[in-house]
Structure formats: C-alpha cells, structure tokens
C-alpha cells in the first residue's frame, strides 16, 4: 500500500533540518485533509447554504455521534480487528438508556448506555483476544444479537424517556458551539493522547503491526486487546446515549449501517484494515468527509435516486486522489506491490 510513501520519506537528505523535513513528511501523508479541503471547495462553489453558521452547526451535530463511533472503530482497526457490531450497540445502548427506570435520570442513562457498551465490548474482546476468533465473525454475531435484543425489548416501538432534560446534552451550546461537538473533540483528543503518548497506545500499534513481535517483546497482547474492545465499547455505548438524546427517544433502528460508515471513515482517514497504521486526525477528517458528503447531497437537493450513486462516485474519486499524488512524487520502485 503505502510502502512507497514511507520509503520516499527517509530520503537522502541526510542530517539536515529535521523539523522542515518532518513537516513535509507530515504534509505528504495528509490525504484525508486534502480530500476534505477539496470537498469544502466544491461545497462553497455549489451552494450558498453550506457556509452558514446554521449549516456548519448542523454538520457538527450530525458528525458528532458517528464521530465518536468512528473513534472507537479506529482503535479496533488499529489492532488489526474490525467491529461491525457498533451500529447495533448504538441502538441497544440508546434504547436501554431511555428505558431503565423509564429514562428518568440523565446521569443514570449515561451510565446505563456506557455499561451496555462495556459489556458488549467485554464479550467481543474476550472472544477475539482469549478465544482467538476472527473479529469479523464475532462482531457479526454481536450485531445480530444486540439488534435482536433491541427489538425484543422495544417490540419495535421507540422508547420515550421521562427525564425532561434528556435532550439537554444534545441541544446545549457553549459559546454558540454545540456541546455534543465539544464532547466529540475532547474524546478525539483523549484517544489521540492514549494512542500516541501512553504505553498502552504504543502497544496497540505494536499489536496491530505485528502481533508476534509484540508478544515476543513482552506486550500483554490478550489483555491489551480486551481493554481496547472494552474502551471502544464504552465509547460506542456513550454514542448510543447521545443519539437517543439528540433524537429525544430511544429508536430501535438507531445506528443501522454505522458499521459500514464508521469503517469507511476510518479507512478514508488513512488507517489500514491490516492494523498498526492510522491517525486519530485522519479518523476525524474521515468522519467529516462523509458528514459533508451527506450534508451536501441534501443541500443540493440531489434526487433521491441519484444520492447513492453520487456518494459512491465521490468515495471512489476521493480514494483515487490519494494514489494520483503518489505517482507524481517519484518513480515507483518495482517493489511496492499491493
């Protein structure tokens, strides 16, 4: 994949100005950012309504919940895993948070939602780490199981929480900026810190890049994996509460297709599904890219029939953009095979 990119980097430049070289290096890897900028330009040119305070607020609101799920997915993808149960967990956590003692207390609702996420994360993590099962199949089972439980609990009927202030978190703003967006960014920062500055985070990268090497170096592979699934679960559960808070009810169908959306955002953000590669910033950009695409399609009132085709086309154009750049850089070595 990106072998060529990274190779170019350790260029001959020698000892030289490490700082500028680092910056160039960094800039070269920021495809998600360029895609984002390109999209913003398209948006600015095609509609006046895009760059309005209201629409940008909307964008943040719309991106925040899935954004938190993307962060969770990002951690799991880093380990070389995949979690396709996130959407169902969002649904289950949202419904449970609105249901337990009738959703009368917001703090309790939050705790319930996170607990649901943690529990499912624990199960997923146990199966993956301690039983050595494929994450895909485990979380696929969990996807069905969690969604089935939602339907069983609600019989398909949305659950109305009793607390008056159930929607407060989702609607509050701080200095005009939506609180839910701030929560998202704070979580992104926390995940970044965890991934880049703590021993735990380095272990995740090591496991994702080569589990054998990680194990041989004394990394507690299983425990780390389990912890990642639990942390991710907690975030997804919390996202479930936020979604319920935003909509005002616990919807049984909430979160459908979040699995594909979140994986897509993580991947377009530069992470590799093989694990060990990716950046939090990329994941955030990836979320925004998909958020903007969806937002734009509505703003431009693209025909319902054409929306899917447009979205697909845009995704393909965006990812192809990332390779066009490589080429222009320098002659590829024969080595860089897919």
């Amino acid at each position: 994949m990106t072998t060529t990119a990274t190779k170019d980097v350790s260029a001959k430049a020698g000892r030289g100005s490490t700082r500028t070289r680092g910056l160039i290096h960094w800039a070269k890897g920021q495809y998600p950012l360029y895609i984002l900028i390109a999209l913003l330009i398209v948006a600015a040119l095609s509609t006046d309504s895009f760059f309005t305070a209201r629409n940008l607020t909307n964008l943040i609101l719309q991106a925040s919940v899935i954004g938190i799920v993307v962060l969770a997915q990002f951690l799991i993808v880093l380990t070389g895993g995949i979690d396709i149960s996130v959407g169902s967990v969002v649904g289950l956590a949202g419904v449970m948070s609105a249901m337990i003692i009738g959703g009368a207390s917001v703090p309790l609702a939050i705790i319930v939602a996170i607990a649901v996420g943690v529990l499912i994360g624990l199960l997923n993590g146990y199966f993956v780490a301690f039983r050595g099962l494929e994450p895909f199949i485990v979380t696929l089972g969990m996807l069905s199981l969690a969604r089935g439980l939602v339907y069983t609990f609600t019989e398909g009927v949305p659950v109305q929480p009793q607390a008056e202030n159930f929607r407060a978190i989702a609607t509050a703003t701080i200095l005009g900026f939506p609180l839910i967006g701030i929560i998202w960014l704070v979580l992104a920062l926390a995940v970044w810190f965890m991934a880049r500055r703590t021993v735990f985070g380095r272990r995740i990268f090591a496991i994702g890049s080569s589990p054998e090497a990680a194990y041989a170096s004394g990394v507690p592979v299983k425990q780390t994996l389990l912890a990642v699934y639990i942390i991710a679960g907690a975030m997804v559960g919390f996202a479930g509460f936020l979604l319920a808070s935003r909509v005002g009810v616990g919807t049984p169908t909430a979160g459908t297709l979040y699995e594909l959306d979140s994986i897509a955002a993580v991947v377009i953000g530069g992470a590799s599904l093989r694990g060990g590669k990716g950046s939090v910033l990329g994941a955030v950009f990836g979320t925004l890219i998909f958020g903007i695409i969806t937002n734009l399609l509505v703003l431009l009132n693209v025909s319902t029939f054409l929306q899917d085709a447009f979205r697909g086309g845009l995704i393909l154009v965006a990812v192809v953009m990332t390779t066009v750049h490589f080429r222009s850089g320098k002659k590829k070595t024969v080595l860089s095979i897919p």
């Binding site: 309504s49 398909g156 029939f305």
Partner: protein, 322 residues
C-alpha cells in the same frame, strides 16, 4: 431432458382459487402472517393485533417479518407452505418483484394481502387508500395557511426503493393542499427511510438550505416527529410539520398537546389493527370453508380519515400500542 420439472408445480388454476381441500374448525387452522418489517411501530401493531386474534380464536399463527427484503419474504412464504399453513396473510414488500411467485403460492392456498397488496393476485387486498388518506391530511393542513398564497414545502421520503406507498401518500397530500386552495413549491425532498433518528439530520440539512420553508411533510409520523424535534431545537416556531398518513400515538399526542395552534398540524389515519382484523376475518372464513374467494372484492379499503386538533381525541388513547 428426462426428469426435468419445475419447483413450482403446474397447478395454474387461476388467481385466488387455491381453496382448501377439506373443511376445518377454526381451532385446527394454521394461518401464516408475513409482515414486511418490524422496525416501525405501525408494523408491530399489526403483529400484536394478529396475535390477539389468534389467541382469542385458538388457531395457530405463524408470524414472520422479512426486514424489508422481498426475496426473504418469498422464502418465508415457501417455508410456511411446507409447514402446512391453511391461509397466508401477506403485507407485500415489492408488488412487482413478488407478483409471479406469490401468484404461484396463491394457486395453492388462499392468500390475503393487508396494507400493501398486489393487483390481481390472491383473494383480496385489505389496504388503506394511501392516496386518499394523504389527501385528507393535506386538506387539514391546508387550513392552516392563507388561501392562495404559495408555500414552500420540504418532504421527508421513505427512500429510493419505495414503490407505491410513499409516492401515493406524497401525491395525495400535495393534492390535498391544492384542493385546500394552497399553491405549493417543493423545494426539498430527501430520504429519511421512515425512521425518526434518520429524519433528524436530514431535516437539519434541509432547514439549512431552505430556512424559510413553511411546511415539512413526513410521509409517516416517525419522520415528521424527527423534523419537529429539529424545529424545536432551533427555536423555530413558524415552520409547520405534518405527516401524510400514519396515526402513531406519539404524533397524536403532539397534535393534542399543541392544539389548533400547534406545530404538528395533521396526520392521516392508517389503522394497522383495522386492516389486520379484516384480513384475519377473511382468511379464517375461507380456510374454514365458510366462504370462497369469490365472495370478496378484489380490493377492500380500510377507513380513511385525516386527523388534526379537532378530531384527535377520537383516535388518541394513551394505552394504544400504536
């Protein structure tokens, strides 16, 4: 080729003639109910109604939902045949898609459609007249606007795969507006796939592009409720919302709560229990041999009504399932 055949037998005896060979008591019956999907309260209400009737009358109910996939539903129908169902009640998903195969099944046993039917297939279709209901709701909404003055409307639709119900409801509602003397312009139309949570972001974007839109129509109540949430968040009290057809409890509550000045103007009655009840009645009468397919019209409509602040009390009850 010797030994060649077909998986569907050859008994093409014509539409709806699959009469039972022997007469049975109600208690001996097995009736299959094939529901579209269960992720909306409306569909679930049908399930609950069907179960109630089966318990009351003591026959066996086979109930399946296809999660919106027409092919899954066909598979389920075939499986129910092999389970020995005496009659099938089907809420069809894609009439065009399923026509041929359901026709084949209808040749074997009585087939009654509810909610969504397929023309010329089965005994009869007990459906709500989506166009009519939409129109009634549209007319009620029209009353809230100044006659003759054009309004901007945004529509939350079911999605690209919606063949009949959505378009009918939409057409009906808009016709209702016209009939009520309100010229309109559809400035935005986006899919929110029938769900309240999906309607929230779509309504947000819609309002960003068209802040002056005067009316947001949801083709069902869940989507209209989603739009209402957004309007309340944005402290927007001037844009009105309405559903073209449905009658979900929460929506009725909003209409009741808002009174005649409320933001949630109207919806249309599309009663899941009425349709289920009638469908069951027909199925039982044919399966027990009391009646034959010829006794029924090819199409039956359930009661249609528009609901707004004036008549909401007739329909609202806090302990409704739907």
């Amino acid at each position: 080729l010797t030994g060649c055949g077909s998986t569907e037998g050859s008994g093409a005896t014509g539409a709806g003639d699959g009469a039972p060979a022997v007469q049975k008591e109600v208690k001996e019956l097995t009736i299959g109910f094939l529901q579209k999907q269960l992720d909306a309260p409306y569909f679930n209400a049908m399930k609950i109604e069907a179960e109630r009737i089966s318990k009351e009358q003591g026959f066996k109910l086979l109930f399946q939902s296809a999660n919106g996939d027409p092919v899954t539903q066909l598979n389920q129908a075939q499986t129910m045949l092999s389970q020995g169902a005496d009659a099938l009640i089907v809420n069809a998903i894609s009439p065009e898609t399923q026509k041929t195969q359901l026709q084949a099944i209808a040749n074997n046993i009585p087939l009654i459609f509810v909610d969504t039917g397929i023309p010329d297939v089965g005994v009869t279709a007990v459906t709500s007249d989506n166009f009519e209901i939409g129109k009634l709701s549209g007319e009620l909404t029209a009353k809230r606007f100044t006659k003759g003055k054009s309004i901007d409307v945004g529509i939350l639709t079911g999605g690209a795969n919606d063949e009949i119900v959505g378009p009918q409801r939409q057409k009906g509602f808009l016709d209702g507006l016209t009939a009520g003397g309100i010229p309109y312009k559809v400035v935005a139309e986006s899919p929110a796939v029938w769900a309240q949570d999906k309607a929230v972001p779509v309504a947000e974007s819609m309002l960003a592009a068209h802040p002056d839109v005067q009316l947001i129509i949801g083709l069902n109540d869940a989507m209209a409720l989603g739009a209402l949430t957004v309007l309340q968040d944005q402290k927007n009290t001037t844009t009105l919302v309405a559903a073209s057809a449905d009658g979900q409890k929460e929506a009725l509550a909003k209409i009741k709560e808002g009174g005649c000045e409320g933001q949630y103007v109207s919806t249309g009655l599309n009663s899941p229990s009425l349709a289920t009840e009638r469908g069951m009645e027909i199925a039982i009468s044919i399966a027990t041999g009391q009646k034959t397919a010829k006794d029924f019209d090819k199409e039956e409509f359930t009661k249609a009504a528009g609901i707004n602040c004036d008549n909401v009390d007739e329909f609202y009850s806090a302990d409704n399932v739907f």
